[in-house]
Subunit: 399 residues, 2 copies
């Protein structure tokens, strides 16, 4: 029996994430994964969480287990104010909401803003999870060109002159998938352009706390507070399994998101929110974050060193100061997908960059390499094996 | 500045839940609430959860904090198989998914099944949260008449003869808001009707474990396994703040729900799922459930006793064997809304039943009374005060 005849029109737009499908091969024993986007488990504060659970249950008792406001657990909304202030975002607790991961914010933004066919502007390449959130609402995507310095402001300005988009979606810092960071000057230009057009920018910022070297850059939200929906998450600074996102949005956008979230899940787990509030307010993040950074720094350096040593001369790659990903580009005519199965058969997995583009045929020569989940020797070995596969196999074979 | 011009068409269908708005008065000091739907905090296993947190972090360590499969944390999917078997639902772990509350299942069902204008059949009255989940997908609702014995099978059959609905949504046991339970004979008839029409039934069952007297009735899922999406939740048997729903659906419906949930929130909190898996597998539920029932039984009895003693003769009300709500009906011409503010001014709050109907003007003479959140003397006093308000004020005043 099938119920296919009952499906809504939008459901044809839902596809299994290519990454999630690709990740199935990762279950093979001995597979080296440069493919996923999993944080390093050794960065998770298991002992602190155990301590915090006890603290939270004694402090809040049944309140930590009860239904709560859709907007978020009040002590957590209070606690994130300081975190946002460090990023130049000046808001009070009532101007922040907590969602079920950043993904939860992306879904409710799509829900309240996108009617079928509405234009939404995204970087090329962009985060696949954002596309999964928006796709069911049937937008039409417009790609904004990017280069090593992030999104190209002139391209954004030209786009907004011609088209009234519902919103612009950017990841300015250590972008997923490209690892690129939009420069300070470009951030200022983007802020000016967005404000001048009275457009709405969704600034997704999961990675900025994972900076291993160099100076922090101000958020675009800090430069255009009235026009930016700022998203960040506990996934990279505490643990992703608790599914906690933070959203600071213009007031009416926040109000509609809250209405949408009432229907989506009533609210985000009170208990997880209580844990996160104590993680911030109790000073645990301050203790843990340097440890997280120290887990990742050698991994990034190992990947860059191995790329320098082994990768073909015809390739170039990003050299991020943080985040989780390096972006590699092959020569013209190279198609990363042709090398996926040979690489897997040699014991190493990556993600073809084309899946991060909204326009079919774009980015065929690109690959995303994750450096957070494997250990240093494994990263080294993985890049070496991958380089051998890339060198041994002529570009034309397999097409 | 407003971004109203950016809103999607569907967003006009999102309204703040009337209950949530009504609940704002509950913050007033001394207010007796018969309005909300909050479980009794004294039923929450605070100490057990503390013990389980430690256990889970030692057993699963970082795995309890990592990203997980959209379908659910594998040990929890295993653990709920036994819970479902007790309800006559014979499924393996791969045929169950975990969602962010039952609300999360309702949202993804709406998302995958409802295109604008699609007919969805609901009981009159029905659960407001389900309407909040479905409304953004812009269904047209068809009401199915109910009486003291639950949904009327002949009405359902007539409806399905005439109209191909996307799905039928029922709460057969201790319904919210009416407290009514669909009889065994009617369950069998509903199962036969749904199967004969090859229709899809969403059987929402949050309350059946909260049975204070009488014999458990089999689920409709157990009688029509291929045509029923069965939903239940940890909200009433553990704690609602953890937002954990269980869904056993036909295979293709499950697959599409999982695709939708990838975009909605990636997955439900791994940590909360790990806690729930231990709550079931470690035998904690077996210890706790009788205590929960004993918390509620005297509250229900106190409410029924007070209604018998104080309520006007012109009223009738449901006499549930469990759940969280009693449903009171006034005489023809009585409008519960006229009594809401006078009752609040006298210090007691309830919910007007009309908000649980999809057709404006239906159910004006009805009220939902919650008996789980207040203590026994307060329930007694609340009903007494409410009865005085209902008696003192002529029906026509305030219109």
């Amino acid at each position: 029996m099938t119920f296919k005849y009952l499906l809504a029109d939008r459901t044809v737009n839902m596809k299994a994430s290519a990454i999630r499908e690709a990740l199935k091969v990762l279950m093979r024993p001995g597979m080296i994964s440069l493919a996923g986007g999993l944080p390093a488990p050794e960065s998770f504060p298991v002992d602190l969480i155990e301590e915090i659970c006890t603290k939270v249950l004694r402090k809040y008792s049944t309140q930590a287990l009860q239904y709560g406001p859709t907007e978020g657990f009040p002590p957590l909304r209070e606690a994130v104010v300081g975190l946002l202030a460090e990023r130049g975002i000046d808001v009070t607790a009532d101007r922040v909401i907590i969602t079920t991961g950043s993904q939860g914010s992306l879904d409710s933004l799509g829900k309240i803003l996108i009617s079928k066919g509405d234009p939404v502007a995204v970087e090329a390449p962009t985060y696949m999870g954002a596309l999964s959130a928006f796709n069911p609402y049937e937008p039409s995507y417009i790609s904004i060109a990017t280069d090593d310095n992030g999104v190209i402001p002139e391209e954004l300005d030209n786009l907004l002159r011609k088209t009234s988009v519902k919103f612009v979606y950017l990841i300015p810092t250590f972008q997923n998938p490209s690892g690129r960071t939009t420069t300070l000057e470009r951030r200022q230009q983007v802020a000016e352009i967005i404000t001048r057009h009275n457009a709405l920018l969704v600034e997704d910022d999961p990675y900025s706390a994972l900076r291993f070297r160099g100076e922090a850059l101000p958020t675009i939200k800090s430069m255009a507070p009235d026009n930016v929906v700022y998203l960040t998450t506990f996934s990279k600074i505490m643990a992703p399994g608790l599914r906690l996102g933070i959203c600071a949005a213009p007031p009416d956008i926040q109000n509609w998101m809250v209405l949408a979230n009432q229907g989506i899940n009533l609210h985000t787990s009170t208990f997880d929110q209580a844990i996160a509030s104590e993680y911030l307010a109790g000073g645990y993040l301050k203790r843990q974050l340097p440890k997280i950074v120290e887990v990742y720094r050698p991994k990034l350096l190992a990947m860059l060193e191995a790329l320098d040593k082994y990768f073909p001369d015809s390739f170039r790659w990003s050299r991020p100061d943080g985040g989780m990903f390096v972006w590699a580009e092959g020569p013209d005519g190279f198609n990363a997908d042709d090398y996926y199965m040979p690489a897997v058969e040699s014991g190493v997995a990556f993600v073809s960059g084309q899946y991060f583009y909204t326009r079919p045929g774009d980015g065929l020569n690109t690959m995303r390499l994750n450096f957070t989940n494997a250990d240093v020797p494994t990263i080294h070995r993985g890049v070496r094996i991958l380089a051998e596969v890339l060198k041994s196999k002529p570009v034309s074979v397999g097409k």
